[in-house]
């Protein structure tokens, strides 16, 4: 039987230790939809030394911006980012859940004023980091289902 392996990438980003099942959400966050000019590899439900299972996303010729990193941290606080340049790991770090988030998530409360046509960006205070629980600055409601509310 032929074995397929995901090959090392020359330049780009490897997002490792993604919470199992979250890889597709990560793709949505980094904007991988139809118009992608480079190779994107997704590994789902692979064995992990840290936890039992993990997801991994490799994206060639792309580095992530701070907003994307914040979003990944919120849905998968243990994810690690490996920035690859010329086949070498140029930088490696664990994502960091921010203290406050603004403009990257909607409030889960349909009755919240920020879900109406008001000229404000939803803003949250991070009350707990693992697992992330965010309190809306406006309506005070806690949001724990982050993945559903990321924009």
């Amino acid at each position: 039987m032929k074995e397929f392996k995901v090959t090392p990438i020359r330049n780009g980003t490897v997002i490792d230790h993604i919470d199992v099942g979250m890889a597709l959400k990560v793709l949505r966050i980094i904007g991988v939809r139809n118009e992608v000019s480079s190779t994107v590899s997704v590994l789902m439900h692979v064995p992990s030394k840290k936890n039992n299972w993990k997801d991994v996303v490799k994206i060639e010729d792309r580095e992530l911006d701070p907003k994307e990193l914040d979003k990944i941290a919120l849905i998968s606080p243990d994810a690690t980012i490996n920035i690859i340049r010329d086949y070498n790991v140029a930088e490696k770090f664990v994502v960091e859940v921010p203290e406050r988030v603004k403009g990257i998530m909607t409030c889960s409360n349909p009755g919240c004023i920020t879900n109406k046509s008001e000229p404000v960006e939803p803003e949250f205070v991070v009350e707990t980091k693992k697992p992330p629980a965010l309190r809306c600055v406006y309506c005070d409601r806690m949001t724990t289902d982050i993945a559903e509310n990321i924009v």
Partner: protein, 311 residues
């Protein structure tokens, strides 16, 4: 908020320190003769209250107007958005910017949660939250605390039984959190489907208070110093028969008060429907109409403090 309330927005009771609440209650006490009309005041003469009520309210709106008028100020605004620019689709942010230019302090009742916090971001003048959807209603909490303190001589150590719809009732969420700040003993009585949400219980426990949870008013009423009653709304029950059964079990009447202490005080944020039988109004326990009056001195205190008339 820290120290003086001058220029501050009053959005949530969580924004207050215990000292600030105590100061509001002290100032409110001094306002009582003016609120009754026994004394005159021109403390806020020439000041304008912008009063924006996006949904109906009787007590809150009228008591804010009474408070401003008793202190020599005036009120402008609307008590329903129909006929105003809001009906034409204006955002809250724009309405607030406009009223901010016309008044010295803004009182806002809105259908959406978080509306008062948003208004505070757009207004330079202080914004007082008069209820935002199912969210916060801090002036109600302050007048409830004022009533308990006045009737019982203090808040600490009193056993306060809160009964009714504890799941959706915004009044009881803010009140129970504030009471825990003052070290009151708390019991929550509700049908299991309408019990106090865990999030609020956890918040109360961070203050070192362990509230008791009960499904039976009869079992706890004898030990209560204050009985705080709220309405169980019919629309929370898909089955009308189930509603009647639950509502009946939590109705306060003379029979229910048989084992109550002589000094029991009964409060209700009003309006009531059938949860307190009118025969209870004639007992020495009933304080809900005094409580409604207390809205005036408490709101006078807040208006004068945020406008800097009193430190």
């Amino acid at each position: 908020m820290s120290g003086s309330l001058k220029g501050s927005d009053i959005v949530s009771i969580r924004d207050f320190s215990r000292e600030q609440i105590e100061r509001v209650l002290e100032v409110a006490e001094k306002m009582v003769p003016i609120a009754r009309g026994d004394e005159k005041s021109s403390l806020l003469e020439g000041r304008i209250l912008g009063s924006l009520f996006y949904e109906p309210s009787t007590r809150t709106r009228l008591s804010f107007e009474a408070a401003m008028t008793r202190l020599g100020g005036r009120t402008l605004g609307f008590d329903e958005p129909r006929g105003s620019s809001v009906a034409k689709g204006e955002t809250l942010a724009d309405t607030i910017r406009m009223v901010d230019a016309y008044s010295d302090v803004i009182v806002l009742r809105h259908t959406q949660e978080g509306a008062a916090r948003l208004a505070g971001h757009f207004a330079e003048k202080p914004v007082i939250n008069a209820g935002d959807g199912a969210g916060q209603h801090p002036t109600q909490t302050l007048l409830d605390l004022f009533t308990i303190r006045k009737e019982k001589g203090g808040i600490d150590g009193n056993h306060i039984v809160i009964v009714g719809d504890l799941k959706y009732g915004r009044t009881v969420h803010s009140l129970s959190e504030a009471l825990s700040m003052f070290g009151a003993e708390l019991t929550f009585v509700a049908p299991p489907t309408l019990q106090m949400p865990q999030e609020h219980i956890k918040h109360i426990e961070t203050r070192g208070i362990r509230p008791k949870i009960s499904n039976s008013l009869e079992e706890v009423i004898a030990e209560a110093d204050v009985l705080y009653v709220t309405r169980i709304q019919k629309e929370r029950f898909p089955d009308p028969a189930e509603y009647r059964k639950v509502a009946g079990a939590f109705t306060i009447d003379r029979e229910m008060l048989r084992d109550a202490s002589d000094n029991l005080v009964i409060m209700h944020p009003l309006p009531r429907v059938s949860e307190i039988d009118p025969e209870v109004d004639l007992t020495p326990h009933a304080r809900y109409f005094d409580q409604a009056f207390n809205g005036v001195p408490v709101r006078m205190a807040l208006l004068s403090m945020v406008l800097g008339g009193i430190e």
